[in-house]
Amino acid sequence: MSPIPSAAATSRIRPAATAPELLRNFCIIAHIDHGKSTLADRMLQLTGVVDARAMRAQYLDRMDIERERGITIKSQAVRMPWGVGDQAYALNMIDTPGHVDFTYEVSRSLAACEGAVLLVDAAQGIEAQTLANLYLALENDLQIIPVLNKIDLPAAQPEKYAEELAGLIGGDPADCLKVSGKTGEGVEALLDRIVELVPAPVGDADKPARAMIFDSVYDTYRGVVTYVRVVDGNLNPRERIAMMSTKATHELLEIGVISPEPVPTQGLGVGEVGYLITGVKDVRQSKVGDTVTNASKPAGEALGGYSDPKPMVFSGLYPIDGSDYPALRDALDKLKLNDAALNYEPETSVALGFGFRVGFLGLLHLEIVRERLEREFDLDLISTAPNVVYDVDLEDRTTVRVTNPSEFPGGKIGAVHEPIVKATILAPSEFIGAIMELCQGKRGDLQGMDYLSEDRVEMRYILPMAEIVFDFFDQLKSRTRGYASLDYEPIGEQTADLVKVDILLQGETVDAFSAIVHKDKAYAYGVMMATKLKDLIPRQQFEVPIQAAIGSRIIARETIRAIRKDVLAKCYGGDITRKRKLLEKQKEGKKRMKTIGRVDVPQEAFIAALSSDAAGSSGGKDAKDAKKK
């Protein structure tokens, strides 16, 4: 029989009426650009859910940013029929985000599956983030199907990387499937392998319903669309459901499966994956990891693994034009509907005016939010250098939590606690020395090192998270000619000798430039910022000292000399219009400057001083770099 099941066979895999043993729930674990979306597209085509004409490249990645960057931010789940022998099966492919910032979302996606396709670029080998997700998948007891992709590439080395994968997950390198998402080669065999190897879901149909939310997406027209995997019982149209973490109940307006457009169904049974629409408008009312149950017949115990998203990185976001502040607030309110991890509070900066201190899961999350604000809401923003959260012990034995460096307490303080991460770096072994040097400079502590293959090594470090959000990724990439990959996860905190460095313009502190840095690096930071600002701030009518200070102690100083000449000598043959227009332009420019004390600072100077190559680290580099690869 054809792999696309006949009508008769299909009747046995109707949603809400499919025996669990005919279901296969799987995800694809892959690094950015290793071809996950292309492979998924090919599966949609081969299973007949999307015909070639309707095929939009990377069908599953819906948002523009995802499409442009070639990465997946929000996961989706598609139901596909596939026949093996005379038997029709329903395959649920659950798309997972590929980035470290979204580890929690990844873990929930994995928890919705019984199997995972481990997809690795046959020309590049496994990357650190993939390795991290592989560990997560193994922890969730998923059946791993190793697959090498892009075997059509001339640079592909399938034998070499098959060895590497076999070394990681056990088994025979010969079991590693070789496919090309681009040509379709080997994809049918992969679908067969999924049916063969991925265990069917197991659950109790007679128990009260328990379904895990693995994604929650805001849709302008439908409100929140919640993606669930049913574990026990079943969910039916028009019944009331309850969220077990909040006890909130909602009317189920629509229930269905994605194939690949939403199709309403008569419900979802044990092991099935689909979507719910209840009319709620905010993803916070439908949280990833939460358990959905029947309101009339609630389950006694929620499924495990739920936790609230915790922001790890903070940055101040300010509109360049102060009058855009209300627009920025509205835009954040709208984004929040679709991003449970986003949180923010109003904040005022002497230098930048009114804005928000925004908490993010990580650097990529920061960059995506910033880019969406600029692109979808047409806002011009300045973001301050990202920082982590510090707990500072005071003399009176209380502790303050610092999410903005300018709020770092002055005077005598006790210990300062900073978050630390466990970082995994994969790289060709020739770069071991360079990576060690970098990590030592970033206060890293080597935990261990293993060879994945003859010439590839995995290095494990404990690093302060602050050092990672600074410029670590950029430096790692440049020192390894782009070959190293990085993954990290927060593992707690440590006390460290940290100080706040302030930058003063003509004696006035510029709050946006304050940074919390290790004592040994304070001088370097001060010199770098002072030098940078000296070049960025135009000369004024008076001399402007730029100082870097720890408390009242000056650690670095530069001076902007006074301007001596600012006059256009001649009006050309009475062309007064030209001169007036020039002055009008300058006048407008002056209006857009921020005045610190008496010093006029152009917005461009703030942007440049806060950009990645100065105050270190925009998450942008991270994401852009990923795109470039």
Binding site: R564, V567, D575, I576, T577, R580, K587
Partner: protein
């Protein structure tokens, strides 16, 4: 390459002016600027609207230029009369370029005759022509004086050969004392134009230029900082690194040096870039620009101002000639300056003059900035505090820039205009 024209409104084909130009017309002097868009050599730094014979080609030749310009003078006479402006004899005429003296003296005389025939000349009329020291003789200067010219402004630029070479100036600096003497002998008032801050010019080079100018006993000096304009050959040389860029600090030092030397020789500043021995030696035509008087600019690319309407002619000599041949105004665009723009213009032009700007004319916001400008040493404190008359309680204070203020004049304007 000439400077780009401003963006503005369309100008009507007949050049007609709105009724708004009539307000206060009797209080405004009326002058004529005549542009001569020809040079024998195109200097690398120059972005004025001028052309060499080879650049122009046929159709707009030097020989027919006087006739073409006379046609615009005729048009100007009709437009001003039609607007209902009072008959005002011309108080100043200024012939600039380009190099006006590449035209035969007869042509210059014909043009001045056209102005005289159209509006009449005031009894004390000032008639200036710019001149290249290379292109005059005792005879040509005497002929200019005989034709009614009263003043000549020589483009001396520098007394130092390597500086002149960088500027592509071909004249021999040793001629300067001679041409000044010939002009004076002919009964002409004389001004020398200097340029400072040319790449490669030392402070001593500049001192030598100012001292050479002063040694002639000249009564008027203009000194302009070199601006490397986009689109000039010099801009290309700077971009390529063949010439160093101009340095504003160096130019400031040279301005201060010039101001010291000129003052010591008895020439006082009356406008940011102009010095004269006595008020009578000042260039009244230039003052009319700063004071917001009326003038009609004749010639391609020339700018005009009448009662708050500013306009500018098409740049290309051939397009200019074509328009006039068709009886159409050569104006390429115009604007009516009023409200905030007019206030900004009064400010930016007024502060450039030693006579200054009455503080009482400033809006309240700007008046509040004056104390700060005095404290910063940009505005003269005594002038700011002056009374209208001894014992009077009427404030007569004026914004008069200090020397530091002159060098930062644009910053002062931005502060007062904020």
């Amino acid at each position: 390459m000439a400077p780009a024209l401003p963006d503005g409104d369309a100008a009507p084909d007949d050049g007609a002016l709105p009724a708004s130009v009539l307000a206060g017309a009797e209080r405004r002097a009326f002058g004529v600027y005549l542009h001569v868009p020809f040079c024998t050599v195109r200097c690398g730094y120059c972005d004025f609207n001028t052309y060499t014979a080879t650049e122009l080609g046929g159709g707009a030749s030097q020989s027919s230029y006087a006739s073409t310009a006379l046609a615009e003078i005729d048009l100007a006479g009709r437009v001003l009369a039609a607007a209902g402006l009072p008959a005002r004899p011309v108080s100043t005429v200024f012939v600039g370029g380009g190099t006006p003296t590449v035209l035969p003296v007869d042509d210059l005389a014909r043009l001045l005759g056209g102005v005289r025939d159209t509006w009449g000349l005031a009894l004390d009329v000032e008639v200036t022509t710019e001149a290249n020291p290379d292109s005059v003789t005792p005879e040509s200067l005497a002929a200019l004086a005989a034709a009614g010219f009263t003043r000549v402004s020589f483009g001396m630029q520098s007394a130092v050969p390597h500086v002149l070479a960088t500027l592509d100036r071909t004249h021999d600096p040793r001629r300067i004392p001679d041409v000044v003497r010939w002009a004076r002998d002919a009964g002409l008032a004389v001004s020398l134009d200097l340029i400072y801050g040319t790449p490669g010019e030392s402070l001593d080079d500049w001192r030598a230029s100012v001292e050479t100018a002063l040694a002639t006993g000249v009564d008027h000096v203009s000194a302009y900082a070199l601006v490397v304009e986009e689109g000039t050959r010099m801009a290309v040389q700077v971009r390529r690194g063949d010439l160093p860029p101009t340095d504003p600090d160096d130019q400031a030092a040279k301005y201060e040096l010039a101001d010291d030397l000129l003052a010591a020789a008895g020439l006082g500043w009356y406008e940011v870039s102009n010095w004269a021995r006595t008020p009578a030696d000042a260039c009244r035509h230039n003052l009319a620009y700063w004071r917001g008087d009326d003038w009609w600019g004749i010639g391609p690319g020339a700018h005009s101002h009448v009662g708050g309407v500013r306009w500018w002619n098409v740049k290309q000599p051939r397009a200019y000639a074509d328009r006039l041949a068709r009886g159409v105004s050569p104006a390429a665009g115009r604007e009516t300056v009023d409200g905030e723009s007019a206030a900004l213009e009064r400010l930016m032009l007024g502060v450039r003059m030693a006579e200054g700007l009455p503080i009482a004319d400033l809006p309240a916001d700007a008046r509040r900035e004056v104390a700060g400008l005095v404290a910063d040493g940009l505005v003269d404190g005594r002038a700011a505090l002056a009374r209208a008359a001894a014992g009077s309680s009427t404030p007569g204070g004026r914004i008069v820039l200090t020397r530091r203020g002159r060098l930062l004049a644009d910053a002062v304007v931005r502060t007062l205009a904020a």
